[in-house]
């Protein structure tokens, strides 16, 4: 491998084990004496539990225990919390209903856990779970957020009258209203953001090891943030004190947000292992269970209005959103449709007046929370569909309308909290227009027409807030945690290096990129550097990986720790080489005195640090440094996506014939990994635009509950992506990194829909633009 520094497209170290089937995921971990858990889940969307009869199930072969919600709460296990307090505009705190890991009195969605079986084998556990007889009094259910707010709708939680969790606002309302009164043109649209399932390749799993003698728990689980999981499990859910609970997130096969949260199953398994008296207890979600229990994403219904002056400058933006949070408030469910969403409703544009109102609502559906992009795709979808719609209504080119309204000087304070630190939106737009041959599109449209196809082009100029987040800032907005990151750099006596990070890699390639920072700094071969993550016994604390934060925040912490290591190594070198510290240079694995031939090898310095025979006066032995990094601001990745489609007017089928992405992610450590992240994000964004959709029937049964009905994007649904990057470094962290993990999913849906609506000549189209929906829109326009 050799030295692989910043900017090298280094192949991923972790891929050897992933591509040869040697990864070690939670379900791969075998512990002697393991018992298995299976959950009894509600078949009803809304019901009162009358009786749970577990007599027959308890007597079945291999069954150790059948446990229910009353036993769980009786043992003092705490309710599941939402970790971000949002206040309604009248000042009242959000109306959070109680959520126990196993239902006690009511079930509120199909899949809600009612009881848990512990048995010797998985087959026995599943069979016994089926034999648990639960009698329900079925209650009316409501699945749409709009319906849930109507008079007479079924009520889910006594705490939330009319199912309303909060009614929140942001921005300068009075000024926005005044701007609309002066407007030369107003564009208005109803916009729906479809509900999605994250679908990571590895389903969730938990393996609990309980050591009775020590009263100590180890939880191996599919988590994006094992330290936060331990904090919640101990401080809030009272499963075990923090020092008696080790959480390990080993190889994790994708998260996309859905593995941020501590779910009922993990809590129940930890509790049940001790209660049932087993030394190890495992639960691995089936794909069917994943559809019914992993947090869903999106599900907004909005009305948006944009006011323009006579020169086509935007003078006001007004959005009213209803967000469906499902049956219970998941960990970040309050932040996702508010601070992660409405704060981006200025987009890339200089809009002096912005106001947004968000109402969040309980329904009898799976809890909804952050999913790749989390709030920012919803904001971008509104901004960018509005911009294209406005261009059509005003009769101007969509690119030129955007360009006219771009923010051009930085820092820029929007009316909705965010202060954009850096960017150059015109450069991304130019790059995307050039790469897509935007100028000659009409020729291509004509040639498609000759083949009987409708061709369209659409763009999206997105901006998002990443690198979450400055702790004090988010604290003032209601966050229950700080969003810094930690790192420790351990240099061993032989000169190899271990980097311990609070970030967690579940597909992002941290083992490679994080090592590149060290390789770059000291000129060490990448194979001499090990990245350690995902274990609360090894890494002291960390906030985990989500919100495209691991580069901007996680690597900044490593950078700070490396600074400290470098200072100490230079001190030792200066002492040994009898030179001044300022003249010491570390390069290519050598530590030398500038301008002389005096040098030591890197490992000689490391060995000296640990031998401690000859260190500067008063210096402690060893070479190991830690750092916490708290960012000074969010970072603001931005870019321009242009999508070109051909629609078959007879069937409504859309083919993406070209997709161009021009992104500004700031400094890039590994361009190959960044490109992979963009590809993955685009696949998910295009998936949302064309294919994916959660559908419930009126009784609250999940219709799209398997891949027979939930359309995951496949390779043949996607074109070859043309991706490129431009760079404006963010001044908000030492490396200038903005983050790249979510951009593709954030920026792409409006580009796709703008292209299809251009092709078919009907702007009234909701996601997903399935063949049926596009065909219906074509018929409606006839």
């Amino acid at each position: 491998m050799g030295i692989q520094g910043i900017g090298a497209p280094a192949l991923r170290k972790e891929d050897k084990r992933f591509l040869t089937g040697k990864g070690k995921y939670t379900d791969d971990i075998k512990v002697a004496g393991t018992h298995y858990a299976a959950f009894v889940r509600s078949p009803h969307a809304h019901a009162k539990i009358k009786k749970i009869n577990s007599k027959a199930a308890s007597k079945m072969a291999g069954v150790v225990a059948v446990l229910d919600g009353k036993q769980l709460t009786g043992d003092g296990i705490g309710n599941i919390i939402c970790g971000w307090m949002v206040h309604s505009k009248d000042g009242s705190p959000m109306n959070m209903g109680a959520w126990s890991a196993l239902a006690t009195e009511y079930v509120r969605y199909v899949g809600d856990g009612v009881a848990l079986v512990v048995a010797e084998t998985q087959a026995q556990a599943v069979a016994a779970a089926e034999a648990v007889e639960v009698s329900y009094k079925v209650l009316p259910a409501v699945v749409s957020a709009v319906d849930a707010m109507k008079k007479g709708a079924p009520q889910l939680h006594p705490e939330a009258k009319n199912n309303l969790i909060f009614d929140w606002e942001i921005g300068n309302g009075a000024e926005t209203d005044a701007a609309f009164k002066k407007a030369a043109n107003i564009v208005e649209m109803d916009i729906r953001n479809n509900r999605l399932v994250a679908n990571p390749m590895e389903t969730r799993a938990a393996l609990v090891e309980y050591d009775e003698a020590e009263d100590h728990y180890t939880l191996h689980t599919t988590s994006q943030n094992p330290h936060v999981a331990r904090l919640l499990l101990s401080a809030f859910y009272q499963v075990a004190p923090e020092n008696k609970l080790r959480v390990i997130a080993p190889d994790v096969g994708g998260g996309f947000g859905a593995k941020i949260y501590v779910y009922p199953e993990e809590i129940a398994c930890l509790w049940a292992a001790k209660r049932a008296g087993v030394s190890a207890l495992k639960w691995t979600s089936s794909r069917s269970e994943a559809f019914l229990s992993d947090a869903h994403g999106r599900d907004h219904v909005s009305t948006a209005k944009m006011a323009f002056d006579k020169n086509n400058k935007i003078i006001g933006m007004k959005v009213d959103t209803i967000a469906n949070l499902g049956a219970y408030m998941s960990l970040f469910s309050s932040a996702t449709p508010t601070y992660l969403y409405a704060t981006l409703l200025s987009g890339q544009y200089n809009i002096p007046n912005v106001h947004a109102n968000v109402r969040t609502v309980y329904t009898n559906t799976v809890p909804v929370d952050a999913y790749r992009g989390a709030g920012r795709p919803e904001a971008t979808y509104i901004m960018e569909r509005m911009m294209t719609t406005a261009a059509r209504q005003l009769g101007v080119d969509p690119a030129e309308l955007r360009r006219k309204n771009f923010i051009k000087s930085f820092p820029h304070q929007t009316p909705v909290i965010m202060c954009y630190d850096a960017g150059d939106f015109g450069v991304s737009l130019d790059a995307a227009m050039k790469a897509s041959d935007y100028a000659n599109f009409e020729k291509r449209r004509k040639s498609s027409k000759r083949k009987g196809k409708l061709r369209g082009i659409g763009m999206s100029c997105y901006i998002e807030a990443c690198g979450i987040a400055p702790s004090a800032a988010v604290g003032s907005l209601g966050a229950g945690v700080g969003l810094w990151e930690s790192a420790e750099v351990r240099v061993n006596p032989v000169g190899t290096v271990e980097v311990l990070t609070g970030s967690h890699s579940h597909g992002q390639g941290h083992e490679t990129t994080f090592a590149q920072l060290v390789s770059d700094r000291f000129g060490l071969p990448a194979e001499n550097i090990q990245v350690v993550h995902g274990d609360t016994d090894k890494v002291q604390f960390g906030m985990g990986t989500y919100g495209s934060r691991s580069g901007a925040v996680g690597m900044s912490a490593i950078e700070k720790a490396l600074d400290k290591v470098e200072i100490k190594a230079k001190k030792i070198a200066a002492h040994l080489l009898e030179a001044s510290e300022g003249d010491i240079e570390i390069k290519n694995g050598e530590v030398s005195v500038k301008g002389t031939d005096k040098k030591l090898l890197w490992h000689e310095i490391c060995l000296a640090a640990y031998m401690a025979h000859n260190l500067p006066e008063g210096m402690e032995p060893g070479l190991k440094e830690g750092a916490f990094y708290d960012p000074t601001n969010f970072t603001f990745p931005a870019g321009c996506y242009i999508c070109e489609v051909e629609v078959d007017p007879d069937t409504g089928e859309t083919t993406i014939v070209q997709f161009v992405a021009a992104d500004d992610f700031g400094k890039i450590i590994n361009p190959m990994i960044v490109e992979g992240q963009v590809h993955g994000g685009l696949a998910q964004g295009i998936g949302q635009a064309l294919l994916e959709n959660v559908v419930y029937d009126d009784e609250g049964q999940l219709i799209s509950a398997s891949y027979m009905d939930y359309t995951m994007p496949r390779a043949d649904d996607l074109p070859n992506f043309q991706v490129s990057t431009t760079e404006t470094k963010t001044p908000s962290n030492p490396l200038g990194i903005k983050g790249c993990g979510e951009a593709g999913a954030i920026g792409s849906p409006p580009a796709v829909i703008n292209a299809i609506t251009d092709a078919i000549g009907n702007n009234d189209l909701t996601m997903p633009a399935s063949p049926q929906n596009v065909w219906a829109a074509i018929q409606a326009a006839k």
């Binding site: 069979a127 089926e130 069917s288 007879d650 069937t651 409504g652 089928e653 294919l691 959709n693 559908v695 219709i703 799209s704 891949y707 027979m708 009905d709 939930y710 359309t711 995951m712 399935s770 063949p771 049926q772 065909w775 219906a776």
Partner: protein, 270 residues
């Protein structure tokens, strides 16, 4: 999955005997529908009697234009069979688009025809090719074999041994897949069996769309006998009231797809 007992039938008599002896036995001919259903705990046969190891069950024979495909021939076998390719390439093309490589290498023509899934591809071809379904007891014409959704003329212990047909002069299959499952939302197999100028023999089988399962589109056949062209189908009407409706396709959309696929199949034939 509930526990079940799996056994392989040695021959046709052994298969029927094993089924009769079982509490609630099921023939297994690839299992691409039955096994997922069992994994979902929606089916719980006491016994699975695997037909695919019976000698000769997977054989494919082509003699001049007479084609016999053993029930255990996989979709991959049919898709890549050089002899079928010569006389009826449209059937190979159809087989090559069923499911994914896993399904094509486990799923069989006998299993698909016997299951009569309303969205399966083969039934449309059997109708249009005027195929004969050969069972362990008798021979049944395709027109009488497919009864209703997931329902066929097969009796309790009866199973398919082979399907036979005379290759048409020309044929084509056009399918619009369900975006999620990739089963047909509308699949139309058009076969031109020749005949005289005044009495052309044209058959059209439609799958994926109708609420009654696969059907023979006699009105389309009539129109095509007059003039074999996509335009000729303009006089036909597909009634939305007869169509299936689900989250991927309303009955109106499916009715449209049937017509579009029929025209495309005809265009591909001519």
């Amino acid at each position: 999955m509930y526990e079940t007992t799996y056994s392989r039938a040695k021959d046709a008599n052994d298969a029927a005997k094993k089924l009769r002896a079982a509490d609630d036995g099921k023939y297994l001919a690839g299992g691409m529908t039955l096994l997922p259903t069992m994994k979902q705990r929606l089916a719980a046969p006491s016994d699975l009697i695997d037909l695919t190891h019976i000698k000769g069950m997977g054989d494919i024979k082509v003699s001049r234009k007479n084609v016999t495909i053993g029930a255990a021939a996989t979709h991959a076998d049919v898709a890549t069979n050089a002899k079928i390719m010569k006389v009826c390439p449209s059937l190979c093309a159809l087989a090559s688009h069923i499911g994914d490589p896993h399904v094509r290498n486990r799923g069989t023509i006998g299993g698909s025809v016997a299951n009569n899934d309303p969205a399966a591809d083969y039934p449309a071809a059997m109708i249009a090719l005027n195929a004969t379904i050969v069972t362990n007891k008798r021979k049944i014409k395709a027109d009488r074999f497919f009864v209703d959704l997931f329902e066929t003329a097969l009796k309790e212990d009866e199973f398919i041994k082979a399907v036979t047909f005379t290759a048409p002069k020309k044929a084509a299959y056009a399918k619009f897949p369900n975006p999620a499952s990739r089963y047909a939302m509308a699949g139309v197999f058009v076969a031109d069996h020749g005949g005289t100028k005044t009495k052309r023999d044209i058959r059209v089988g439609v799958t994926g769309a109708s609420s009654g399962g696969v059907y023979r589109a006699k009105d389309m056949e009539k129109a095509l006998k007059k003039s074999f062209s996509a335009d000729a189908l303009g006089v036909c009407k597909v009634d939305a009231d007869d169509m299936l409706s689900d989250i991927h396709g309303s009955s109106a959309y499916r009715a449209n797809l049937v017509m579009v696929m029929a025209k495309r199949a005809v265009a591909a034939v001519s």
